[in-house]
Symmetry: C2
Subunit: 396 residues, 2 copies
């Protein structure tokens, strides 16, 4: 589906010298009019300076620009990191003729290094000149780190006969787990909506998407999702209830799910996508714990890489993560084929069929504990030689 | 140090055809007189048949033999698995002229397959004929799976002028985490000790050793540690208190630590040993959580494989695992060099020195949260291409 961009938003991205290889590393999202904003952040106890600053900025009303960089995370940089962010915000506010409190920031990259403030501030005029709707792809590329493909999408919806456009881009390919570990997401919409409704929809969408994916169980210091809404679609204002709210929320869920799937497909070194469905638990929390334990298990991830229907490892992992599971009630499916049925594994002929189905790029793994009517779904990727290569050579 | 064997114990190991490659896969530990026994088992909710049966056997007094096999775990085999174990126990009890309740069993290998009971029972006479002190190494080899080296050791101690010998062997190289995930351990001693004291010492030793190592955070269905003590050293009986108890407990801790270190060194695909020390937490539980999160982090394990002092990943992982950590109080050392000191990373020259020190086979990682006086130590290994190779091709 072709990309749509909302009214009143411009974008730019440029190399400014944070990355050594000359690739784009600095992005701007710009709203022509003040936009209401919502943000969600990492739950890591150690938060990067841009996270600390943006959390505070969000308390101060409408926003005009987001500055995002890749290459350096500006995390574990203590007060120096905060000072650097504030210098950048002040310089950009002046350069773009907005108020400092109208600026949001996000960073991704190596932890522990200081941002090159001078280099970043030396590109204010370049970015201002480059601001355009066409600049969207440059902005997308400027937040990529180990990502191998740009990840973006949009939705169009009608609200009171008005066309509303919702567009988002994300970066994230490793170190992703619930609560947004190392992902950045930037959503812009011309929808007319209350701040409360915008935040509610963003939370609901994240719970249904970003919080249900994992690459390696790691949690970053920098995860940030922003959504800006400038109202230029001129629909009747959406509040926290009613049909129009539902329409908008559903569109946002739909878009965040699309982008989540793209992140998992582009997981560091990933060869396959594994869609994990856990059912039959007593509580959703139990289902979530089992699903994430399966999704982050190195033994299961390497088995899927090897296209090996090693359901014994799945049984062991379920047993390790749920105290009340019983082998006599447990069922496991890989693809459409049941492989373990209440204490009995399938025979070798059936196993061969499963093995063939595992050649697919996307594989379903379903586990039913037969102990309740709750559950949880998680999407993850396999664990490959390339994951080890990427992460043993990513320079510190 | 040369291996010592306790009085009155004989051992044997043979290939019986469980493994396809003709390697040894069946071991016997035999006590010439009834020995008191203690056992510790996996905490996985799904326990293998030999675990279920042995837990029950331990309630029934003294023991004469342990039958252990590798190649097939006899886990997730439901009632059939239990039936198979009981058939084996009855046949061996008869063959070795002991009571069925005097037999313990342990298995390791692929989950979900039935044991070849006929093959196992066809080797009773072979094993009986082979029983000897020299058979110890055959027994050690017969429980190895992905282990690349045999792991065993012994301690000699004097109690009331009597020489007491304590000997152990373990198997384990992947899927190891607290509470013995996929390890088997067999300890024999001629010490004269009460059952309560034997169990107390085994628990203390495990807490100080096996429960402080991890390979990949996985937990198996089969973990088992047995200790048999036949009293033939004729020392004054050791009860749960006093100097002689302490001597024995310390010897057992010492031996289990030696064997734990050997398991980590032989971790699947392991290239390096990482000794993690966490201090400055409010509770030991917090220290344990941080230490295991560090030890099981794929990003940290791959960085150590790459000899990369990427302390940023360490900061992020500590932040993800302890809600009260503050970067202004956090200190991190790699080897003897501090790399992060209360919000400040070290400069590139110092980092280069650290990088060189990471060429060592064993590397220390110390983290101080500066928030209390508790802590925890864990030993683990790095994450390598070979881990992926071994676990993506280990056939199911």
């Amino acid at each position: 589906m072709a990309l749509s961009l909302p009214k009143g938003f411009l974008y730019a991205g440029t190399p400014c010298g944070i990355k050594n290889d000359g690739k784009k590393d600095l992005a701007i999202v710009y709203s022509e009019v003040p936009a209401i904003a919502a943000g969600l952040f990492t739950t890591n106890a150690i938060k990067a300076a841009p996270v600390v600053v943006s959390m505070n900025q969000l308390k101060k009303g409408k926003k005009r620009i987001i500055i995002a960089n890749s290459g350096i995370a500006n995390a574990a940089t203590a007060k120096d990191g905060i000072k650097d962010v504030n210098e950048i915000i002040n310089a950009y506010a002046k350069g773009f003729n907005v108020k400092p409190e109208e600026v949001l920031v996000a960073s991704t990259g190596i932890i522990g290094r200081r941002l090159p403030v001078e280099k970043i501030n030396a590109h204010i005029i370049t970015l201002k000149n480059d601001l355009s709707r066409q600049g969207f792809m440059d902005a997308v590329k400027a937040v990529m780190t180990t990502d191998t493909v740009p990840k973006y999408g949009s939705r169009r919806l009608k609200i009171n006969g008005r066309e509303v456009i919702l567009t988002g881009f994300v970066k994230g390919s490793g170190m992703i787990q619930p609560h947004f570990a190392t992902m950045l997401g930037f959503f812009t919409s011309d929808v007319n909506i209350t701040p409360g409704a915008l935040r509610k929809a963003m939370l609901a969408a994240s719970d249904a998407s970003f919080n249900r994916i994992t690459i390696d169980g790691e949690m970053s210091t920098n995860d940030t999702v922003f959504i800006l809404a400038n109202g230029l679609a001129e629909n009747d204002i959406i509040n926290e209830h009613g049909k129009n709210y539902s329409l908008f929320e559903q569109a946002l869920i739909d878009l965040t799910r699309e982008l989540s799937e793209k992140m998992v497909k582009d997981g560091e070194g990933a060869n396959k996508v594994i869609e994990i469905s856990v059912t039959g638990t007593k509580t959703e929390e139990d289902g979530k714990r089992v699903a994430f334990k399966l999704a982050n298990s190195p033994l299961i991830k390497t088995a899927f890489f090897g296209e090996d229907p090693n359901w014994g490892r799945i049984v062991a992992t379920v047993g390790a993560s749920c105290p009340y599971v019983s082998e006599s009630r447990l069922k496991i499916w890989i693809g459409k084929q049941i492989v373990f049925n209440c204490g009995k594994g399938i025979d070798n002929d059936a196993l061969l069929k499963v093995r063939n189905s595992m050649k697919n790029r996307t594989i379903q793994l379903a586990v039913d504990l037969g102990s309740g009517n709750k559950g949880f779904n998680v999407m993850t990727c396999d664990f490959t030689y390339d994951y080890v290569r990427i992460n043993s050579t990513y320079t510190s």
